[in-house]
Amino acid sequence: MTTSIDRPPEPQTSGPRPHAPLLRHRGLVRLTHWLHAVFLAGMIGSGLQIYTAYAHIGYHGDTFGVPNPFDGTRMALPRQVLLGGWLAGGLRWHFVLAWPFVLTGLAYVLFLAFSGEWRALLFRPRDVPGAVQMGRYYLRVRRDHPPQGKHNALQKSAYSFVLVLAVVSVLSGFALAKPIQLSWLTALFGGYEWARYWHFVAVWAFTAFIVVHVIAVLASDPASLRAIITGRYRGRHTAGG
């Protein structure tokens, strides 16, 4: 079952089946993907709820001089994206969902490490030429789709980026929750106010990833949506690698 993920199906003798689906995502990947979709939505909604209690970055009464289009004096966040109703409700959701969010992430990362699937997912220096070619394709400089394995180089960069983002979010979250007991961690982010800023920037990076991810799936390879639900992939990117 392991090898069938990366390889095209063997020609079958018992009748023509040119589009036999590949097992692309194993159960644990599908489960953690959709759990993360729910938990991350909850973390972002409750996090924004907490943010609205003091919609500024920087010491109280001071300006911090960091770019923030969502500063309270500029743009208020719509109520529909907030979770919890008020500060205490937001805090409750945030500190309840944080654990399943982290545990799901750990399960996924351990799976990547031990199954060897990180090879098909992590962006490495040798993926740079492939990323350039995919960029040329998306910008219509290049007409034919570059050959790819399970993921193309730009997908790898996005999925690797979102892993880094998750680590930054979780660590900056701990830095904000325990700035005295984990003062070394808070210091690593440049102090409490900077940790709050990076935690907040991560929200917009996550949001940008989700938007690009969903558009790319629907516009470029809708078969991959079925694959992350059922595990079976019938799309066009079936080459090995």
């Binding site: 209690a53 001071d62 005295i180």
Partner: protein, 237 residues
């Protein structure tokens, strides 16, 4: 035909239902409902225990000499700022599970040894300031009243409407927990909790009861004005 229709229907359902799940979760003030609340309460209680455990292990203190930053806002629950008409009539009553219940007057407290520090104040709302505080270490008061071994919590009451809350005794006995009577080098002003307030850099602002009247050592865990409305009970940093 029937088989493929069912598969398509299931697929359509998943297409709608799966993206709708997070959307439903983000429905404003939803708290998880009656089914999930007991589970949430258990997780929140575990968070409190984890915070206590982490503090017991790391046992860190805040850097006492930071650079003054920002402006300290004033908060109180009453409609108007709580102020003593006659400060000489004010007493801090320390009692409960102690051998020597004591009433302290302001001159009595002024004569006790003080400590001072300039530390970061963290509000649950997310803002911070760095300000200078001065006061009597809580351990000094505890040594005078001699808590009994059964005392596991400390309850702090105020004359700001019904504002009160409770601490675990380990946090109260932290070397930087003080009963503050001075702020930024001046006697504590009414806007910051005069004549006496609880202060510690290891707790969120709502744990730092102002306008103190009573300190009670107890065996039962006290509630709290904000804690009873959903703020984390431990509130440790």
């Amino acid at each position: 035909m029937g088989e493929s229709r069912r598969i398509i229907a299931r697929r359509d359902f998943l297409r709608v239902a799966v993206p709708a799940l997070p959307a439903a979760l983000v429905a404003c003030g939803w708290n998880g409902g009656k089914q999930l609340q007991p589970l949430f309460n258990r997780i929140i209680a575990a968070n409190n225990r984890l915070g206590e455990g982490l503090q017991a292990v790391t046992h860190r203190t805040a850097d006492p000499r930071q650079v003054d930053r920002g402006q300290m806002p004033a908060y109180f629950i009453s409609d108007t700022m709580p102020m003593l008409v006659d400060p000489s009539g004010w007493r801090l009553r320390v009692g409960g599970l102690v051998r020597q219940p004591t009433s302290f007057t302001l001159p009595m407290l002024a004569q006790l040894p003080h400590i001072g520090y300039t530390v970061t104040h963290h509000c649950v709302e997310g803002w911070s300031v760095v300000k200078a505080w001065n006061g009597v270490p809580f351990t000094t008061i505890a040594a005078l009243v001699e808590p009994l071994p059964a005392a596991r919590y400390v309850r702090f009451d105020s004359f700001d409407s019904d504002y009160m809350n409770g601490w675990d005794i380990a946090s109260a006995m932290h070397p930087q927990t003080i009963l503050a009577d001075a702020f930024e080098g001046r006697p504590l002003a009414p806007m910051h909790g005069a004549p006496l307030r609880l202060y510690s850099p290891i707790k969120l602002g709502y744990k730092l009861t102002k306008y103190l009247t009573t300190v009670t050592f107890t065996a039962e865990k006290p509630g709290g004005y904000w804690e009873d409305q959903g703020y984390p009970w431990f509130g440790g940093l």
